[in-house]
């Protein structure tokens, strides 16, 4: 009996260390300061509805439908401000603290005095389980949380830029077919 209890405790400890879905918190109040803001939360049911709606709606719609096929949730909080100083980097700390927990790894990072661009990946039992994107500029702040598996190469094409492939640990390296191709950004 004692042995079973110990096993249960160890299992509980292991489970508690599994990375949880990213919660975008600490940004309350920014919407009222922003000149424009985007606040999107899509849960599994909404994603399924969106996928069904997009099916058969042409190549673009099918591209998006295929992208969201493996997703469980997408959350976007994006704010554009008229002036600088409307938020502090400390406001991002509750989010970045979650991204420092086991299971999350930073795969792209660019920091300067005034800007941060970071992309994190979450893995669960060796499989990709999600991504987080933080883009902080003086007059714009965007946080994106994606739960589920998504192909970053396919996602980057949706932006309209033919950037060279992004190597993600665990994903096959792109052969560079898009390398050097420039497109018009929408």
């Amino acid at each position: 009996m004692r042995r079973i209890l110990w096993m249960l405790l160890i299992a509980a400890g292991t489970i508690s260390q599994l990375p949880a879905q990213l919660r975008i918190t600490g940004l309350d109040g920014l919407a009222s300061k922003a000149k424009e803001s985007v606040d999107i939360t899509l849960d599994p049911a909404m994603l399924q509805m969106a996928g069904a709606f997009l099916a058969g709606s042409g190549k673009d719609g099918n591209d998006v439908k295929n992208l969201i096929a493996g997703l469980k949730a997408i959350t976007v909080r994006s704010y554009e401000f008229k002036e600088t100083g409307q938020y502090r980097m400390e406001d991002l700390e509750p989010i970045r603290a979650q991204l420092r927990t086991p299971g999350w790894s930073k795969i792209i990072s660019s920091q300067s005095k005034e800007e941060i661009s970071e992309i994190y990946m979450r893995s669960d039992q060796g499989k990709i389980a999600g991504f987080a994107i933080i883009n902080a500029e003086p007059k714009e702040l965007t946080v994106v949380a994606i739960e589920g598996a998504i192909n970053l190469q396919d996602l980057s094409k949706l932006g309209g830029l033919g950037v060279p492939a992004i190597r993600v640990p665990g994903q096959a390296k792109d052969q560079g077919k898009d390398a050097g191709k420039k497109g018009k950004q929408e």
């Binding site: 985007v38 899509l42 509805m49 709606f53 997009l54 976007v76 994106v144 996602l155 830029l161 950004q185």
Partner: protein, 98 residues
């Protein structure tokens, strides 16, 4: 071209057809008083309930379609924003390395 200005011009107010105000006022003053509630035969109640149900189901279907349309638009916007920021980050790293 400034989209804000063009939208203001495109959505500028305009008047309805000539005599609108007179027609509305005339109708308002000549509206009959509300009728007393009438008793309907049972068949008509059944038909009314059926109509309400059909309307309700149709409305529910329409509402679901609208939800799906909204969800799909949101999904497209969310992914475009994600793609934009992803490419942005990748560009910055590329520029730094070069």
């Amino acid at each position: 071209m400034n989209l804000d200005e063009e939208l203001r011009a495109a959505l500028r107010r305009e008047d309805p057809s000539l005599g609108f105000a007179e027609r509305v006022a005339a109708k308002a003053h000549s509206s009959p008083a509300p009728k007393a509630v009438m008793r309907f035969p049972r068949m008509m109640w059944a038909a009314a309930i059926a109509a309400v149900l059909v309307t309700g189901l149709t409305a529910m279907y329409e509402y679901r379609q609208m939800q799906a349309e909204h969800a799909s638009r949101d999904a497209v916007i969310a992914l475009r924003i994600a793609a934009d920021k992803l490419n942005n980050a990748r560009d910055k790293v590329s520029r730094r390395e070069n």
